[in-house]
């Protein structure tokens, strides 16, 4: 009996079309195995790759900005805004700290200097808001330490550590809930990460929270984490939804400070 064989009948078995797919899949599996078996080695291998990606980003940014003078001015303006934002947040933190100290009639607690760590990798804007840092257990990093950005802005918590590298899960990561306060009356609220550097919260409509109000989280004292950029209200609901933007751009961080705050 004659059997017909159609090589193009099954797309999965069509070797001419799938061969690169199989190679890609095997390559991805090998990388995954290395990541699982030897995470420290994995990050050693990938650190130069991420560094070159960062360099490329910076150089392409400079190249594009070098076409005209207005671009240079825009760059300087951007830098000044960043510095201003950092100083403002630092000022907010200090004001809150002084207020808390006066209120409690107690002296400020000693804050250790912490560990300064370079950011190796950051994801593109995605549900996984994490940072990979070039500091691990060898440098004294421990799971649970808190990461701070420019101006002492809290960013997230160390979620995993290898010998020379660590991962920070940012407060804006999906599924992460953080307790905090908002507004001049320090109203308590739960901040939920929404991914892509954004956080959400919900609070009673009667609280009178407005766009521009600062959101604080516990650290050593009360530390500013972000500002309210949008207040969504539904007439049938007694509460309003708040959209919180971090005070620092999470996707352009170069250095962070790690401290054990007991969170």
């Amino acid at each position: 009996m004659k059997r017909t064989f159609l090589s193009k009948r099954n797309a999965l078995l069509s070797s001419a079309n799938i061969s690169w797919g199989v190679r890609a899949f095997i390559f991805a599996l090998i990388i995954l195995l290395i990541r699982l078996i030897a995470p420290n080695f994995f990050w050693f291998v990938f650190t130069p790759v991420f560094n070159s990606a960062n360099t490329l980003t910076v150089q392409s940014h400079s190249f594009l900005q070098g076409f005209n003078d207005t671009a240079v001015l825009a760059s300087r303006n951007e830098q000044l805004i960043k510095e201003n934002s950092a100083l403002a947040s630092e000022n907010q933190a200090l004001s809150k700290k002084i207020a808390s100290i006066i209120e409690l009639f107690s002296s400020a607690q000693t804050i250790s200097n912490g560990i300064l760590a370079g950011v190796v990798a950051r994801p593109p804007e995605s549900p996984y808001d994490i940072l990979v840092l070039a500091a691990g257990t060898d440098e004294g990093v421990k799971v649970g330490m808190e990461a701070f950005g420019i101006g002492g802005v809290p960013l997230g918590v160390v979620s995993s550590v290898t010998d020379n590298f660590s991962r920070i899960t940012l407060f804006s990561s999906s599924g992460i809930n953080t307790s905090g306060w908002v507004g001049n009356n320090n109203l308590p609220l739960t901040i939920s990460g929404a991914g892509a550097g954004i956080m959400n919260a919900s609070i009673a409509r009667s609280a009178g929270i407005a766009v521009g109000d600062i959101v604080f989280v516990p650290g050593p004292g009360m530390l500013p984490i972000g500002t309210i950029t949008r207040v969504d209200s539904d007439i049938s609901s007694p509460s309003v939804s708040l959209r919180i933007q971090p005070l620092v751009n999470l996707f352009s961080l170069s250095w962070v400070l790690l401290r054990d705050t007991g969170i």
């Binding site: 079309n17 799938i18 890609a24 990606a53 995605s126 996984y128 995993s160």
Partner: protein, 84 residues
């Protein structure tokens, strides 16, 4: 040759380019290389996924979904009069 170039470019784009560039590149390439979305998803999760925040490995899941859809579409096209 073009398939090889698209595969290598897709892997590089995970690290060097924003996610939407990678997504677009992989979607276009997937009609020529059906397993590429799954491979790129796995690679992206290898680099960026953190299991402790309760999330599923989303890039891998998206990759599986796109790969299954592409394989289904390809099999339909190949057995239809369009695919010859």
């Amino acid at each position: 040759m073009i398939r090889g170039l698209l595969t290598i470019l897709s892997f590089i784009s995970v690290i060097f380019f924003p996610w939407f560039v990678t997504a677009l590149l992989v979607l276009i390439s997937s009609f020529y290389i059906p397993l590429l979305p799954l491979s790129i998803g796995l690679f992206a999760d290898t680099l960026y996924y953190t299991p402790n925040n309760g999330l599923w490995p989303l890039f891998t899941i998206y990759g599986i979904v796109v790969t299954v859809v592409v394989l289904f579409v390809r099999s339909r096209l190949k057995t239809s009069s369009i695919g010859g």
